[in-house]
Amino acid sequence: MKHIRNFSIIAHIDHGKSTLADRLIQYTGMVDERNFKDQILDTMEIERERGITIKSQAISLPYQAQDGEDYLLNLIDTPGHVDFSYEVSRALASCEGVLLLIDAAQGVQAQTLANLYLAMENNLEIIPVINKIDLPTADVDRVLEQIDSELGLDPFSALKCSAKEGIGIEEIIEAIVCRIPPPKGKPDSPLAALIFDAQYDPFRGTVIHCRLFDGTVKAGEIIRFMSNQAVYKVEEVGRFLLTRQKRDRLSAGEVGYILAGVKTVSDVHIGDTITLDDQPCDAPLPGFKEFKPVVFSSIYPIAPEDYEDLAVALEKYKLNDAAFVYQKDSSIALGQGFRCGFLGLLHLEIVQERLEREYDLSIILSVPSVRYRFTLKDGSTVYVDNPAHYPDPGSIERGEEPYIRATLILPERYLGAVMKLCMEKRGENSKLNYLGPGRVELIYEMPLAEVIYDFYNRFKSITQGYGSFDYDVLDYRESNLVLVDILVNGEKVDALSQIVHRDQARPRALGVCEKLKEEIPRQMFKVAIQGAIGGEIIARTTISPFRKDVTAKCYGGDITRKRKLLEKQKKGKKRMKMIGSVSIPQSAFLAVLKSDTDS
């Protein structure tokens, strides 16, 4: 056990985590140069493209250190986004130490801090690493100062590297060996293994990624998931090298995988404890939480005949994403679809992109919503994440919405503008910390609904990309909520209904009305677009009818050409959604729905 090191790399997005991971893998000789593919741990195409890690991955690196001993360095890669902070926390719980990676040009950012706090909560050894020192804009001294003043860490403990150029890699690996403590644990105690990830293998079922704290596990044993008491027979255990490598057993301190015929990843709960059925441990490892989706949206196929394909794709997708939940839904405007729950807006976008890319589906998503809580006059409580299920307004005693604590780090010069944005987004109880010269940390409590609606983009643009943002969900708070409907010539377009705070109702409704006005082509009749709360009209735009579209000449007998044009137009018209007598192109829904998300 003293030759094992379990560690993770944590960083703000784009600070070079995956690149450093690749260098470590390369340095320890796992892959030769020729077969090296950048960002080995980011196996999904989309991860590589967006440059972020979505799912945790693990890899064991054999390494002979300068002391002459052979070590096994288990690198547990973590997702790099706030939506997945629970997964990050479980990955960190499986480690004894972390490399806290900081971009030499950008310095400490919101997720640097958030990740540092997570590491501290888990009592991990923290090695600060300043990356990208080769950049012309690198300011190592400033970052060292931030490490001291903002992170409260010893600047002399910091290492410097350029993962891209391969500078400083050896020092990092030696530091992992020398500074991160070996795992502790009792191989003779009952099995206690922490699940930090699960992946789906079409041939073997779910691959459970875990860290053993106590005991051992081997093929043939019966294991039990402590959260739901489900039992499975272990088929295979092993380590992650570049591919899975089968072993006789896994013991305390090790990181590896278990195959136990678990059908889907949804049967496995990240953070859960695995023990042996006949000799269970006393208590589960701490920190287990159920996944709770916080952002909801309905997915519809653009062509109704693709509904079955969408159903199949969601089923397949779900196999590998336990955090994603969905159920059937239908809309008058958009037809049959699915109501889906996500960990956050990024998670939503990832699902959307993967469905489009990997399953080749054209889909449309309804306006994202949070889950509201309503106390009705009869004393009962209902949770509503779909505007279609908004309770009868007369029956509502009290409405509540989820609040978050937003942590924003930004250059001081943008403070005024960012505070204004946060106020507009109903932020309250603000706290301001001066982190260092010219840098501030701003903490606000604000409704989650405001964050998923056009917050991040505006924050990024106000701070010209120098601001960083992180959040955690707090609690439900009372809120003056209303249901805003959009009507086209008096007919409700159900897919565009939204639950919003009364103060935002009018601007939000007007925004949708104006977007629709831009996107719906002029028709033969006047089209009135209205936003309404119940019977009260709060916003209105009008599309004036076109009055002339006639082709001047039609003689000489060349009618074929004109008819072909008409046939084409007729086809186009068929693809539009009819709301009453108004034909609305799909692009109008897309434009409205897109403008409402924060991509």
């Binding site: 033969m524 076109f546 002339k548 579209d549 006639v550 007998g557 009618i559 008819r563 008409l566």
Partner: protein
């Protein structure tokens, strides 16, 4: 459907594909190689022979182009002689010739009157010199006036003017002035076309290169409605989107054949024909046209057999373009579609909005409806 087409007498169109100069807005096929006229006529006569068994009797003949008035009286006479040789004509056929005002001298007029041409369609386009220049017309305002006067002198009593509006930069006054000047000559027929920028024309390319702005929809709509109002007040019937007649007897019988699915035979390059089921079209190139004929073939470039659905779409389109409109029972008999039953709701709405008149079992578009006929066809 068959029965219907048998009742209707076909029309004959002859495309004379020559012009002295090409107008930059026009996308009808023509060539400026006038030395080829004799070769063309030779080919045309052979083409006629090939169709003589198929089309027996016509009640309209239309010499279009191109510029038929470029031909000599003798050449024009030979065309009509060949027609009579190969086909039968009804006792009083409508025989129309398109003419450029610059060509209409008393000698030509006298002779074409003599060979049986009884309807003249003069390509005047405008009474505004600036507009004539923009359109690249080779005639002057003076030539227009003397052409009209000369035509009346030889007792042409069925004369139509072609006029164009919506020229970039043109104001309503310029157009109303043109209309008033046209009305001074009391033509029996007026075709008022909005200028369109066809992509494959020099003007269309200039338009795409944004050398000028086309007048907007609202302005052209004003032109359109104002034209309808002015001409209605002057006693003309707005019987098709772009066509007006001083009494129903002066409507173009030939053009109406295109609009009610009557059969028609088109001769000459690029001409289209329709026999009730099939539509076919000749090569849009004089060389190819002559080459095919030389080799004993019909100079047909393509053909299509129309499905009932296609016929129905065309019929709707034409129904909304003509004052004659759509007779629900006839439409149902011919195109197997009960328009009233299927579209009652929207038709009532269109009536309420003033786009249609609906009486008994018949609908007829108003001028406001004409302006929307492309969309109405897709209702």
């Amino acid at each position: 459907m068959n029965t219907l087409n048998v009742i209707k007498t076909p029309g004959l169109y002859i495309h004379i594909p020559f012009c002295l100069s090409k107008c930059p807005y026009c996308d009808f096929y023509s060539s400026t190689s006038v030395s080829l006229i004799p070769y063309f006529l030779n080919g045309l006569f052979k083409e006629m022979e090939r169709h003589s068994h198929r089309f027996k009797r016509f009640d309209t003949i239309y010499l279009g182009g191109g510029t038929p008035s470029l031909l000599t009286p003798k050449q024009l006479e030979s065309i009509l002689m060949e027609v009579r040789k190969n086909f039968h004509l009804t006792s009083t056929p409508e025989i129309t010739m398109e003419a450029n005002p610059a060509d209409l001298n008393p000698v030509l007029l006298e002779s074409i009157r003599g060979i049986g041409i009884n309807r003249l369609n003069i390509g005047i386009q405008s009474f505004d010199e600036r507009v004539l220049r923009f359109l690249g017309r080779r005639h002057s305002l003076n030539q227009v006036i003397s052409a009209i006067e000369a035509s009346r002198k030889v007792k042409f009593n069925n004369i139509g003017f072609d006029l164009i509006y919506g020229v970039p930069g043109q104001e309503m006054d310029s157009w109303l002035q043109t209309l008033r000047q046209a009305l001074d000559f009391s033509p029996e027929h007026l075709s008022c076309y909005q200028l369109t920028f066809e992509p494959e024309t020099p003007l269309g390319r200039r338009f795409q290169a944004r050398e000028f702005h086309a007048p907007g929809d609202d302005l052209t709509h004003q032109f359109f409605i104002e034209t309808s109002n002015v001409l209605s007040e002057a006693g003309y019937i707005h019987y098709e989107v772009s066509n007006f007649a001083r009494g129903m007897e002066h409507t173009s019988k030939h053009n109406q054949k295109y609009w009610d699915h009557s059969p028609y035979l088109g001769l000459g390059p690029s001409a289209h024909s329709f026999d009730g089921h099939q539509r076919w079209w000749n090569h849009r190139s004089l060389a190819q046209y002559l080459d095919e004929i030389q080799r004993g073939n019909l100079p047909i470039e393509g053909k299509e057999t129309l499905t009932l659905e296609q016929l129905r779409l065309e019929a709707l389109y034409f129904g909304f373009r003509t004052k004659k409109g759509i007779h629900f029972d006839h439409f149902k008999d011919r195109y197997a579609f009960d328009l009233w039953m299927e579209k009652k709701e929207i038709l009532r709405r269109l009536k309420a909005e003033g786009f249609l008149l609906i009486q008994h079992d018949h609908l007829s578009p108003t001028p406001q409806g004409f302006a929307l006929s492309d969309s109405l066809a897709l209702l």
